[in-house]
């Protein structure tokens, strides 16, 4: 499985009811192996439906989806696909089932019939990769939200997926928990080459992705690098989304007659931009 195109949608439409307005409308996209893609859009824009299509929880009403070349509509692939593209949801409390972190990670493996002797190394590795090894014997309900989400991710990692699909996995977390979970997933992407689809409402998270897709009314409204997407401030605002604060600041400066770059994303980039705009303003 060394194909470059990992998750592929070919003219995919999905309706919850046969006569209903499609929740996902004619979407075609290719997500290459190892890419970190963020999906933005309002509630009801079709993001979560798309996520569930990508791991075969939903099957397209029209069109075709393949995961590593496997068509999600073919029943013989169903379990392989769910295992290959693991999903993490919003509420950490709904995803943990056992009384011990270790057992929770084991649960998924038992479900897919992994032989008992193969389980410990996979569980240990998954807990190590999520930084949760030292919590193996703790009861999950005493963990912080960020830690619970990392356990949920470990449970999926133990199944050795090639893609992680996270549907607002940080929405219910505090800033520290959000950072923990985002950094964990970014590291898995970087070091393990896991393809990531990261659905979020937080623009600063999307700014750190390699690619940003914006959905609106079930269709793909924008698709590009974070820099390309967020520099199109008016379009993003028209979709009633935000841009990162530093991008907003750049545009406020432009409105005040300063020739700032339109595609600033981070604090560090803005500091450099101020330096570029006025080299003589600096003491050193």
């Amino acid at each position: 499985m060394t194909d470059i195109a990992h998750l592929v949608c070919d003219q995919v439409t999905y309706r919850y009811e046969p006569q209903a307005e499609p929740a996902v409308k004619d979407i075609s996209l290719v997500i290459p192996r190892g890419q970190f893609t963020a999906i933005l859009g309002h509630n009801g824009s079709g993001k979560s439906t798309l996520a569930k299509l990508l791991n075969g929880l939903f099957l397209p009403s029209e069109g075709r989806i393949t995961v590593s070349g496997m068509d999600t509509r073919e029943e013989k692939h169903t379990w392989d696909i769910r295992q290959a593209a693991g999903m993490v949801f919003q509420n950490p409390d709904n995803q943990l089932v056992a009384t011990r972190v270790y057992d929770d990670v084991a649960f998924g493996l038992e479900n897919i019939g992994v032989p008992t002797e193969e389980m410990p190394p996979r569980i240990d590795e998954a807990l190590r990769l999520t930084g949760m090894a030292e919590y193996a014997d703790r009861p999950p309900h005493l963990l912080s939200g960020g830690q619970k989400q990392r356990v949920a991710i470990a449970g999926i990692l133990a199944m050795q997926p090639q893609a992680l699909i996270l549907d607002e996995a940080t929405a219910m977390l505090d800033p520290q928990g959000r950072k923990e979970v985002f950094d964990t997933v970014a590291r898995l992407n970087r070091e393990q080459g896991i393809t990531v689809v990261w659905i979020t409402h937080f623009m600063e998270e999307a700014a750190r992705a390699q690619r940003v897709m914006v959905m609106d009314h079930g269709a793909m409204a924008m698709d590009g690098t974070p820099r390309e997407i967020f520099s199109r401030v008016e379009e993003v605002r028209a979709l009633r989304l935000d841009v990162p604060p530093m991008t907003k600041l750049a545009h406020l400066l432009i409105a005040r007659g300063i020739k700032a770059a339109r595609d600033v994303l981070t604090v560090e980039e803005m500091a450099r931009e101020v330096k570029r705009l006025c080299p003589s303003c600096w003491k050193n």
Partner: protein, 288 residues
Amino acid sequence: MPIVLEKLTHIYQQGGPVATTAIEDIDLVIDDGELLALIGHTGSGKSTLAQHLNGLMKPTSGRVLLDGRDINAPGEDTRKLRFQVGLVFQYPEHQLFEETVYKDIAFGPRNMGLSNEEIDGRVRSAMDMVGLPFEEIKERSPFEVSGGQMRRIALAGVLAMRPRVLVLDEPTAGLDPRARDLLLKDIQRLHMEGTTVVMISHAMDDVARLATRIAVLEKGRLVMEGLPEVVFGRFEELTGMGLDVPQGCQLARRLRELGGPEIPDCYLLESLADSLAAFLKGGGGDAA
């Protein structure tokens, strides 16, 4: 008259083997008409403090005074006193339970023993205050509307009790950007119209935009309190507590570190842009 917290302390499971001090020795005055943001790390005691403001939790020691009267004193009068403080929990939509939106919002006023006519008026105006279309959704189940609307139904249920003080525990958590903006506008308007607001939030850019004053809790203690520019000016202390700082203030600090301009008013992007633009146009002269 303000809310006064006097040496407020709450210990969970006091005397037991796992006794935990959630808040300790808190002295704080919440003035009429202000919008106080309560910030702090998860577990710092914010929610515990909030639940003392309307008597939902009783202090282990110390007092909560409203109009100079102890809200935990025995008697029917203090129950009425507590109705003046409306508390909206985190994820309040998890507590919706009635068959219709109307009944859910009417629950609080009904509990207060008001007449049907009075209740009806209050439900209508509460829905109006949070931008919910009365005719369109009053008979619908509160469970079949959008997440943003559910949140606003829960808020309307508290507003229908006409509280003078509104206490909101992370009102925008988990909402999408549009629903968040609508809700923040509602909160801002209620504040402008005279409601005192206490808002717990982790979203520092929202806090920067709305708060008239900020109180910071750490490990159950009140460690900082003041105007937004003062609190956000104490950058190192906040980040040391694991708190976020508005990105504008992060930029101001970075510029200073690099030997660049001093930007005093960093916490609102608009005024930051004014200062920066003036500075850049002046070729590095006066930033203020």
